[in-house]
Symmetry: C2
Subunit: 380 residues, 2 copies
């Protein structure tokens, strides 16, 4: 089951600037041998282990040598009993039940909002710290919403119980928010963002592995002159784009857009920051792009902005005007860092109070699994 997400060569072909991105192990090898587990590490459970993000949790844990004592793979009854090899050990996928969290220190959830709503509090009651990738708890004032590079302080009060204390819930922001704020926050710290106008170019992966497969299938069909199969999306996606498929609210924004609006306010702890967003799905596999227009309280020139972003953790600047080299989704696919480029003074704002930037980030990785594992690392 692991192959479905990684089999694509659609997002793994080399690109010219790829070498400029911080390197990870060149071969993705979630089954590499780890010689010893750590007796003093936490016990980890993965909820939704068979999904695109669930599988990426495993990759990231392995890539980062996350020091776990034990790992437990949880999924729906349908997947229970299947065997997954991970770091030279075989694991039987277990069905998620209310008993699943006994002795679990850290539970990484990515199985949709309703599973999180039901089982997240149960896990926390049993003493687990839950890092939840769904939207279920993001706007709950009692639950920290964390990007480790941006607002680690929001989770500073949470400790691993190790069987002794109470657990807790921590929410992973939405992928578009994470990718946007990775680039915008360093600038915000310097000059305070007053207003942000975001237009997204979102990949198939945000709708899960099946959506990536549908994009590939549709593309083959259209190239063969056949009617495209529309199961996940209600319309042709290949060689097309459309407004994000999230439900549209009475104010005309869709839920994806409102996540950017609301999560930014919460993460920045700034209820006054003005955000508008237009979220669009484009026929790209697994990395999002975002065009971000920023208005600042203090002047911020483009050279200073570039310098700030060059020094920002988890951010890589790709901004070569002479060779027209700027971030692309393909460059950041399977990469940890968020790439930012097209950094320029906004001509439509007076003085140096505005900037335009273009940001790309891997939706499954920093937009989901990596961010959650980084949160877990902060707990250690």
């Amino acid at each position: 089951m692991h192959s479905s997400v990684y089999a694509y060569r659609l997002h793994s072909l080399p690109s010219p600037s790829q070498t400029r991105i911080r390197t990870r192990s060149p071969t993705r090898n979630p089954t590499r041998i780890r010689m010893t587990l750590r007796d003093d590490g936490p016990s980890v459970a993965i909820v939704g282990a068979t999904g695109a993000v669930g599988q990426e949790f495993l990759s990231v844990l392995s890539d980062r040598d996350f020091p776990y004592r034990s790992i437990k793979l949880l999924a729906s009854r349908r997947s229970a009993g299947k065997v997954q090899t991970f770091e030279d050990r075989s694991y039987r996928i277990e069905e998620l039940t209310t008993e699943s969290f006994d002795g679990v220190d850290i539970a990484l959830f990515s199985a949709g909002g309703s599973i999180s709503s039901e089982f997240g509090p149960i896990a926390a009651d049993k003493g687990s710290v839950v890092v939840d990738n769904s939207s279920a708890f993001r706007m709950d004032p009692a639950v920290p919403l964390v990007i480790p590079e941006v607002n680690p302080e929001a989770m500073a009060h949470i400790r691993l119980g190790k069987g002794k204390g109470k657990g807790a819930l921590i929410a992973n922001p939405n992928c578009s928010t994470i990718i946007c704020l990775m680039a915008a926050t360093p600038l915000h710290r310097y000059a305070k963002v007053l207003r942000m106008v975001v237009s997204t170019y979102q990949a198939a992966s945000g709708a899960g592995a099946a959506a990536m497969e549908e994009l590939e299938l549709q593309t083959r069909e259209v190239l063969d002159g056949k009617e495209p199969t529309c199961k996940i999306f209600k319309q042709q996606y290949a060689f097309n784009l459309f407004s994000h498929n999230a439900p549209v609210l009475s104010n005309g924004y869709n839920e994806e857009e409102m996540k950017l609006v609301k999560e930014t306010r919460k993460i920045w702890n700034d209820k006054d920051v003005k955000v508008t967003a237009t979220c669009i799905r484009v026929p790209v596999m697994r990395a999002h792009a975002e065009s971000v227009n920023l208005q600042f309280e203090k002047p911020l020139d483009e050279d200073t902005a570039r310098q700030i972003l060059n020094g920002a953790a988890g951010v890589v600047v790709i901004d070569d005007r002479s060779s027209n080299s700027f971030p692309t989704p393909l460059q950041v696919s399977n990469k940890d860092d968020v790439a930012v480029g097209r950094i320029r003074q906004d001509l439509s704002q007076e003085g140096n109070y505005g900037l335009d930037i273009f940001v790309c980030g891997d939706q499954i990785r920093k937009g989901a699994a990596l961010n959650a594992v980084q949160i877990a690392e902060k707990l250690l």
Copy 2:
């Protein structure tokens, strides 16, 4: 040679809302029989007749029953001598020379900026009215830059010479500008746009028929696990997107973006309007999309905006929140109208002074050939 642009089924598959768009003849038939030419019509020359836009000129002239007396197809020496069938007549492609414009009333140019720079003034000197699709004359203060639905008054002083008078130059705006302003102008007339933040999602066709072919070829290659062929673009385009390939200027904007900034000011005759743009190429065949954030001088609520756009010539509103039906590039491919949707009050601006909209238009048609032919019609 005609087939290369229309052979794609990549952009002609039916989509749910397609029927809502103003219909043209369902079968594209540039070779349909016209029973009589019009003796009182103008003589027309097409410069760059073998290109994507040149071929679309022919389609549009035919679709609109443009009343020409005679037609002349001009191209480079390479194409000269080839035969093109058009409306049941055969035409031999002629090599473009300084003698080509004798007796020509209207010359539709789409052969690149350097051809226009050289031959546009020659044609005008011979008495032709030149409608030029290149950027050569757009910012020339003596040359009107016209979208017929937007600023027909700019060309009101120009008359067809019919062999008697001097000719003239009229410039067709850039495709992104036309598509954006078709939707923004009706709102601008009501509430005056002070500032506009545009992010584009631009199709392959803007870089010509060869770019469309490269996108198709690359897509097949990537699906087959092969290295993609990069001739027109320097990087992988299939399942990817990138900052527009136009040269980047010292202010960090690329030329495509600056066209939106400068052409808007000229077309609206408003040197104070603030515009910023981020232009991105997406793997779509022939229609552009644009996310447009608007700031107005006067309040404009979203219902009024929808009503205004519903009544605007050349615009179709696709804006059904309950069914998540909004404009897509595929819906407007091969269509005349520009589609607008996602019309909503901008949450990031106080009161009713801001709107977000999403616009799609066929790049080859309204973005180029149709607009030029509409200009020619105004001359009759």
